[in-house]
Amino acid sequence: MSMDVDVIRKDFPIFETPANGKPLTYLDSASSSQKPRQVIDRIVRFYETENANVHRGAYQLSEMATAAYEGAREACGRWIGSPSRNIIFTRGTTESINAVRFTWANQNVGAGDEVLVTEMEHHSNLIPWQLLTQEKGATLRHLPIDDEGLLRMDLLGEYITERTKLVALPLMSNVLGTINPVAEVAAAAHAAGAKVVVDAAQAAPHIKVDVAELDCDFLAYSSHKMCGPTGAGVLYGRIELLEEMPPFMGGGEMIREVWADRATWNEVPFKFEAGTMNIAQAVGMGAAVEYLEALGEDAIRDHEVRLTKYAMGRLEETGAIIYGPKDVSKRGGVVSFNLDDVHPHDLSTIVDQHGVCIRAGHHCAQPLMRRLGVPATARASFYVYNDERDVDVLIDAMAEAKGWFA
């Protein structure tokens, strides 16, 4: 089934409002996606007809709110091939990764141990591990990438040792677009007795993610990058680990029984959901999953592969340097590039005059920028509402920028 972008675009009210007086050309979905009416309406309907706190009131309205919230958990699990029991709602990927840091990792990583990340980390899958290893007297190591932005799998054996307790890596890079062979890394990690945390912030919105196939121990993703609202995200955890782990935050809802000086914990996953959660946002995230399911994971991927190939071809014609894998089957719809003498910030400001939104900067990946030897890149990223016409508008706007600087 192929996708009809004209029909899809009508689902997204944002495109009705001009940007700088021009039709909006939104090429920054890797940062945050736009929201379809179906998701916006679901959140409104929740507030208008189902709103109450969850898991608390013994009245019908609270039961309706709870059903909506737990239905969303079901959907968010289904999206990554997991039962809902393994799904913990968080504020987003960053909070999910930090939750692992303060629970499992805090208990299981000690002095002399090693945590392995990669050279392509987003800061949110780097800083928590810097903080943890510094606090514990452990060592943080970085699996190198090659010049095309692929992980140096040939070095994996050197980087995973008997001291490695945790391997944390992205399924898809937010700068290079690289899709990493996570299952292969997980096999090597498990053979050495290490656990695996997957940052699926970029992958979950765009490619099929299956926690069983990846064989990971933890996986994090965000609602706002996949047509859902901000303020919601998921931490998936293997059930045995979740059962044994200490709670993340303490407060209401995560407890079973409380005495003046101690408490016992609620069952998984509620043990990890302290206080009143972002209920409406979680419900919205569930609606986003349903929206994407209706489009079809395979159709989304096919569409983005075609568009990415087109964009890389057209960008190449402009003389831009493109970072990341050349082979589109190894990458997602995130294309970072630099155009001659036009600094990414200048480029971004200039194309914005044409209603084009691209990202410019270090993309929360400063060590990767250093590895690439550039202070910044421009980045165009694609989603279900983009097509070749958006790329053409970008290329024309870039030609103007190039002209100014020539």
């Binding site: 910030h345 200048d346 400001t349 200039i350 900067g361 202070p375 910044a376 100014w404 600087f405």
Partner: protein, 148 residues
């Protein structure tokens, strides 16, 4: 003042200094050398200042980054070279107030620099335009030349 379009801002103000920056390079000997950057964008400048009494006798910069950051630094060195330090400080503070939208910008004090006001329309770029000026203020302070 007529508001510049982005194209005019670039073509009439920024690109000339970006392509042919004034006082680009190291200055040796110098009294103060300061390296500053905008962590968010990666714009960098290293500023060298030499004083003669209370005057800015020599000033030069090294740097890389977007055209607005580098052009503004170039314009800054051209303007304050040879000025008494206290006048250089006044200009820098006046530019900062203009960029913050606190004042219109005084043609008497700023001369051609008034055209930098075109950047105010692009809020994310204001810090690019101010990198050189903020570094100058720090350098004057480090040289013991600032008055409050």
């Amino acid at each position: 003042m007529v508001r510049l379009s982005l194209e005019e801002l670039y073509k009439e103000v920024i690109l000339d200094h970006y392509r042919a920056p004034r006082n680009k390079g190291r200055l040796d000997p110098h009294d103060v050398a300061l390296e500053r950057n905008n962590p968010l964008c990666g714009d960098e400048i290293e500023l060298f200042v030499k004083f003669a009494g209370d005057d800015v006798e020599g000033i030069a910069f090294e740097g890389k980054g977007c055209s607005i950051s580098q052009a503004s630094a170039s314009m800054m060195t051209e303007k304050v070279q040879g000025l008494p330090a206290k006048d250089a400080q006044l200009v820098a503070e006046s530019i900062k107030r203009m960029m913050a939208g606190e004042e219109e910008g005084d043609v008497e004090t700023l001369g051609d620099l008034i055209s930098l006001k075109g950047v105010v329309k692009y809020p994310v770029r204001i810090k690019c335009a101010l990198l050189g000026w903020n570094t100058l203020l720090e350098a004057l302070e480090e040289g013991g030349k600032t008055s409050s």
